[in-house]
Symmetry: C2
Subunit: 171 residues, 2 copies
DNA sequence: TATTGTTATACTCTATAACTATA
DNA sequence: TATAGTTATAGAGTATAACAATA
């Protein structure tokens, strides 16, 4: 368990990381902004998944995913096939063109990192990777498990309403 | 120096970090979105600075900073005083209300981190903080120092054009 | 002529809410 | 009634380009 001062410093670094993210975004192909790149990369790693699963991986509302995916389908990088087990669902899959695009994205990003992190050791890169993976996992877990010490949060904070990536909409 | 496979994995974690960023953004006050929060935090840390310096810290075009800062000024969180040394410039400074707002932001973010990172050790939090700081620095350095091994980049990649955070505009 | 900052415009990312089709 | 996905709308973030004032 860490102290507040440590958390404050960590949050500052989160903010500074935005600058890194923006630089990465600037080297993306004009027809593939960073949001699209993120989706393609996730599909490349997780294989054929459903919209809802993708929303969960991205931690965004499914409406966002829907639009992103529609754009990628228009460009021919992914295809949406009906799920035989549930006619409401659609299975997402990279097309050959999609795989090629992932290759191009990988080429660009690894080149930039090679330039910028030239003086980092294997060990350091690995450490940062592991810690960021764990960070993501720690935020993920808390969508299923309630916080250890639920402190009084007077305004907007109804019970987590179970694990879902859906617009609350009406009641 | 690390291998390409390591860089690919690191980039994937960069993408996953977006989910953490979005969660942080969701707990911000309605009148202070995460972009504003980043600016306020930077001003709190760096003291009175000029627009151009702030743009550099954020790694965004000055036009972006200008709008952000205008909004914050409207809310009364910062003030822009003329720079006596250069009448074109403006000095940015947090107001007392701005400092109070920073306090509120800090309270919210540290609480969320305390919930999510409850099982992290001091050492681990410190390590992640240090590595992210170094990451930011590594990207920063390369705006002044050219890449160690300038590889052939056929399309869009004219010489760095010196360190500036400005729209290229016309020639 | 070059630099600092502002404004106008356009595009991406995101959330909320309403809707359709299926379970 | 609840869930999977879509669409419409609105707001925030960002870049490009043109502009004004000052150096």
């Amino acid at each position: 368990m860490a102290g507040n001062a440590q958390y404050e410093e960590l949050v500052r670094q989160f903010g500074a990381f935005g600058a890194v993210k923006r630089e990465l975004g600037r080297i993306m192909p004009a027809d593939c902004p960073s949001g699209s790149a993120t989706v393609l990369t996730l599909l490349d790693r997780h294989g054929d998944i459903r919209m809802s699963k993708l929303s969960e991986l991205l931690s965004v509302d499914m409406s966002v995913t829907s639009r992103q995916v529609a754009q990628l389908a228009e460009r021919g990088w992914i295809e949406r096939s009906p799920d035989p087990a549930d006619k409401r669902s659609r299975i997402l899959r990279l097309t050959p063109a999609g795989h090629a695009q992932v290759g191009e994205l990988t080429r660009r990003t690894t080149q930039l990192l090679a330039e910028r992190l030239g003086d980092w050791s294997d060990e350091e890169v690995g450490q940062l990777t592991r810690l960021m993976a764990r960070l993501r996992a720690s935020f993920d877990d808390c969508r299923t498990a309630p916080p250890p010490v639920p402190p009084p949060r007077p305004p907007a904070a109804p019970p987590p309403a179970a694990k879902t990536t859906r617009t609350p909409a009406s009641t």
